[in-house]
Amino acid sequence: MSTVNRLFRLLIVAALVAMIFPLALSAYIDPGTGSYILQVLIAAFVAVSFTIKVFWKRIKKFFSRKKEEKPEPLQESADEK
C-alpha cells in the first residue's frame, strides 16, 4: 500500500508539472506499464464515481417511472442507429 501511496504522491506532483509543461518523449518506450499503473491509481476514484452515477440514475428512474410509465428516450449518440 505504501508503494501505491508513494506512486500516487509522485503522480500528483507529475500532474502539476504536466499542467505547466507540455510533454515530449524522446526515447523509444514500452508504454504498457504506465497505462497499467494509471488504472490502478484511478481505480478507487472511478469506482466511486461510477457507483454514485448508477445509484443516481436508479433514483431518477424510480421517480420518473412514478410520474409516467413511458421509458426515457435513448440519449445515445449515433451508435444507437
Partner: protein, 462 residues
Amino acid sequence: MKNEAGTLASSFRDPSGFLFIREKILYRQINHSYKEDYDLFLSSGLYRALTQAGLLVRHEEVLIPPADPGAAYKIIRPEPVPFISYPYEWGFSQLKDAALATLRIQKMALEHGMSLKDSSAYNIQFLQGRTVFIDTLSFEKLTMRPWVAYRQFCQHFLGPLLLMKHRDFRLNQLARVFIDGIPLDLTSRLLPWSTRLKPSLATHIHLHALSQKHFSRRTVRVREKRVSRTSLLGIVDSLESAVKKLSFKLKKTEWADYYQETNYVPEAFEHKKQVLAEFLDLIRPKNLWDLGANTGIFSRLASERGIPTVSWDIDFVAVELNYRDCLAKKEKLLLPLVLDLTNPSPAIGWENQERRSFLERGPADAVFALALLHHLAISNNLPFSRIAAFLRKICRALVVEFIPKSDSQVQRLLATREDIFSGYSQPEFEHEFSRFFTIQKAVHLKGSERVLYLMQGRDDQD
C-alpha cells in the same frame, strides 16, 4: 493481403488464431491455446448478447480441414464484410461511433465475466450501416487486472477524436503513420492547454502520457496489481462520457455551401440523375465506388437500387455530412469514406501487408467518376492516358463525366494558372479512354455542355 497458404497478414500477431481464405471464402482458425476463452465466450452468453445487439459479426462453426492442423481447435466462418475500411478513411462521427461501439462491447464483456484484450480501431468495420466488431478472438476471461486494452483505446479513439475536435479534423490522417494509434505524448503535446483542465481528459490523455513516460524505464511488477470489476466498469464509463461529449459542429454557412455545390442548373441535375439511373439499370453492378462523391447524392442512386456502394471524397466535411445522412436515413448499403485519389491509402504495417492499399481492395464492379476528370487532369496535371489506365485497374464498368474547358467549373480551375492543357478536349479524352475501355453510351446533359459516358473495361488493354 495473403500468403501462399491463404493466411491473411492482418491477423498474424494473434496466437489465438488467424484468418485464411479458401475458395474465396474467409475462415478463422481458432487455436487450442484459445480453447478455454472461446468456450467461455459462447457459454457465458456473451457471443449471443453481442450478436443480438448487432455489435459483433456472426459466425458459424464449420467442419473443413484446418489451415494449420497442429494448432487447430475449431474453424469458424464469419459473416463477410463487403468492404474493409480503415480509421484514416473515416470521418469524425464514424470514429466516434466506432469508439462507442468498442466501449459498449467492453461493458457487455465485463458483465459476462470477460474482457476485450485489444481495442484497436481496425477491429471495427461498417456492416449494413452499423459499426460492428470483427475480431471474434479478442475476448478473454476477466482476471480483475487493469484493462490491458486501455492504452490502445486512448491511442486509437480518444486521442484522435480530441485532436480532430480541438485542433483539426484532418489530424485523423496521423493514423496512417501510427498503425497502433497516435502516441499519447504526441496527442498531449498537440492538444490545447485547456484540455488539461477537464478531469477526464487530464487523466486519460495527459496524466496517462506522463505515467507512460515515468514508468518507461522502471520495472514494476504490474501483473500483481488487482482492480475491482466496478473500477473496470468505471474506467469504461469515464471513457464513454468523455467520448460522448465530443461533437463535431459545423457553422450554418459551411453546411449550406456543401449542399449548394450540387445545386447547379436544375434541368441538367435532374437529367444527370435520370441518365445515371438508366446506366445502372443497364450494367447492374454487384458493387460500386463513387469517386469524388461529395455528400453522396449520386452514390444513393446506386445504394437505393440495392448496390453496395462506397462513397469516396477527399473532403472530410463532405464525408461527415454524407455519414450523418446515412444515419438519419438508416441507409445500409452506403459507406462514405475519405480518400485523396492522387495519394490513395497505401498498404501499411509489417512487410507492408497488415492494412491493404486502396488498389488492393478493388477492383469494384463499377465506378462513378463524375465531375472528377477536370480536377485530376487540370489541378493535378494528370494526362488522360494515366487516368484511364488507373480507372481500368479499379473497375469493370465506368461511368465518367466529361466537362469541357468552356464549363465554368473548369474555367475556375484555369483562372489561376496558365492553360498548358491543349490535350484537354473531348476527342482526345475519347481516344485515350478507348485504349482501356469500350465506349457504350455517351449522353449530352440537357442545359449544359457536359457529357456522361458509359464504358466497359477492355480485356485486351495495353
